[in-house]
Amino acid sequence: MAGVGATMGRVRDRVEAGSSGMPFRVKLGLVYTGIAILLILVFFWFQFDIAFMREWGPFILGGIPLTLAICFGGIALAMVLALFGALGRLSKSAVARGIANFYVSFVRGTPLVVQILFIYFALPQLAFKPSSPTFLQTIFIFPVAFAAILALGINYGAYMTEIFRAGIQAVGGGQIEAAHALGMTDAQTTRRVVLPQAVRVIIPPTGNEFIAMLKDSALIGIAASGVELFGRAQNTGLGQNRPFEALALAAMVYWLLTSIFSFFQKRLENRISRGHVRIEGGGH
């Protein structure tokens, strides 16, 4: 072993010495090329089935719009819940704070997959009770996309409550005093002074949450197969005995989507941190 170690050491020395004139970016490019070649080899090793992809690829990719729709809906709901959650946790009212604390604690303390299955499968139990009036069926039985938005929104809303709370608390006490001294009520102060300033702090991490949700939305596939991106991949992959092809395609698409949104999220973050960009018009 010592001999091997010494040989490796000498090889490393020679590589380092030989490449010392090469720019770091070029080295990095070489590494990426190597990884790409390895990945292609993996695809060959699995005997990547082009015919399967041609036949089922479009069906799997057809789940993308729904995945995106679920995530946009989910993040919108999460932002609303996080706003109320944060205001509740900072409220002087025991009722508001109690409800908000319970919401955050319960949702963060239970697995997302359980929440999804609960909303999709457990709630209809109420609708199907013999004694239940029929309108409950319209309340407790959701189409899968709606259940997904509900589950992801509620779950992410609980995590984002802390983001929103931090954003609100980042607004200085002097701002609140100034608003109060001008005769504003608490509600006016929150709406006109605190929230517009908190938005600066809240937006970048909310972008990160959206990207995380994009990946977590795959859990919907556990509840209902064949609907969104992962559900379709899993369904066809297992059904056609080609799980590698189907899952690799889904993974690539998630990676591509998260990369695109990360790119925009970074730009947004830079724009905001550069200072006095107006996110919300003052309204005058």
Binding site: A179, A181, M184, T185, Q188, V193, Q197, G282, H284
Partner: protein, 250 residues
């Protein structure tokens, strides 16, 4: 004339710490009261009690006919009364507290529009007049971050005036400023005093006090130790502690 501000036996505790120990003070309309004293003497707390940024723990405050006893609980009706007082009492803070997300003119008209439901046009017109008065008409559409400290404080004064207050409270308005910017802020305050605005000013600017104040109040350990006309107090303070403080700051 009836006093416009009446402070009676005011007490303020922060937990176990008693900051105000029975302060009484009447302010007539048009008076300029300079409150001074050592750090920790309670002068800022006294000012902040007048518009209830601090809730008094004892005594009574009356502002323009609205009389408020110290209360253990702040209920809805009291909050509304406090708001009435705050609309009559403009406040200027040591560190300006301009709203950074709003332009200068938006800072001015925010409260008139939101609190008094004035129309934007009306508020804007008055706001521009005020900016002109504090010498910042050309900065109306600038954002606070682009202003110097002195300019910020003048905007803050104009913002408070935009609510058409009957009294103005100044909490160390020049303490956060670079020395060369102090004069421009004092100039605006001097003009305001000349127009007959009732003012309570916490400051260490003894030159300003000598020239503008109708009365000076020396606070010491939460009590009014001495008060009088600036000429009398500055040259002939009766109490040894007032004299020592004046020697230190003059």
């Amino acid at each position: 004339m009836d006093p416009i501000i009446r402070v009676e036996d005011l007490e303020k505790h922060f937990g176990d710490l008693q900051v105000l120990r029975g302060v009484s003070l009447d302010v007539e309309p048009g008076e300029v009261i300079v409150i001074f004293g050592r750090s920790g003497s309670g002068k800022s707390t006294l000012l902040r009690c007048v518009n209830f940024l601090e809730e008094p723990t004892g005594g009574c405050i009356e502002v323009d006919g609205v009389r408020m006893e110290a209360a253990r609980h702040v209920l809805r009706a009291r909050r509304e009364q406090v708001r009435q007082i705050r609309m009559k009492a403009g406040m200027v803070f040591q560190d300006f507290n301009l709203f950074p997300h709003l332009s200068v003119i938006e800072n001015l008209i925010e409260a008139p529009c939101v609190v008094k439901k004035e129309s934007k046009g009306e508020a804007r017109e008055f706001g521009l007049q005020l900016l002109d008065k504090v010498g910042l008409a050309e900065k109306a559409d600038e954002y606070p971050i682009r202003l110097s400290g002195g300019q910020k404080q003048r905007v803050a004064i104009a913002r408070a005036l935009c609510m058409r207050p009957k009294i103005m409270l100044f909490d160390e308005p020049t303490s956060a400023l670079d020395p060369e910017l102090v004069a421009e802020v004092l100039e605006v305050m001097r003009d305001l005093a000349k127009e007959g605005m009732t003012m309570m000013v916490v400051t260490h600017e003894m030159g300003f006090a000598r020239e503008v104040a109708s009365r000076m109040v020396f606070l010491h350990e939460g009590k009014v130790l001495e008060e009088g006309k600036p000429a009398d107090l500055i040259s002939g303070a009766r109490d040894e502690r007032t004299r020592r403080f004046l020697e230190a700051v003059l």
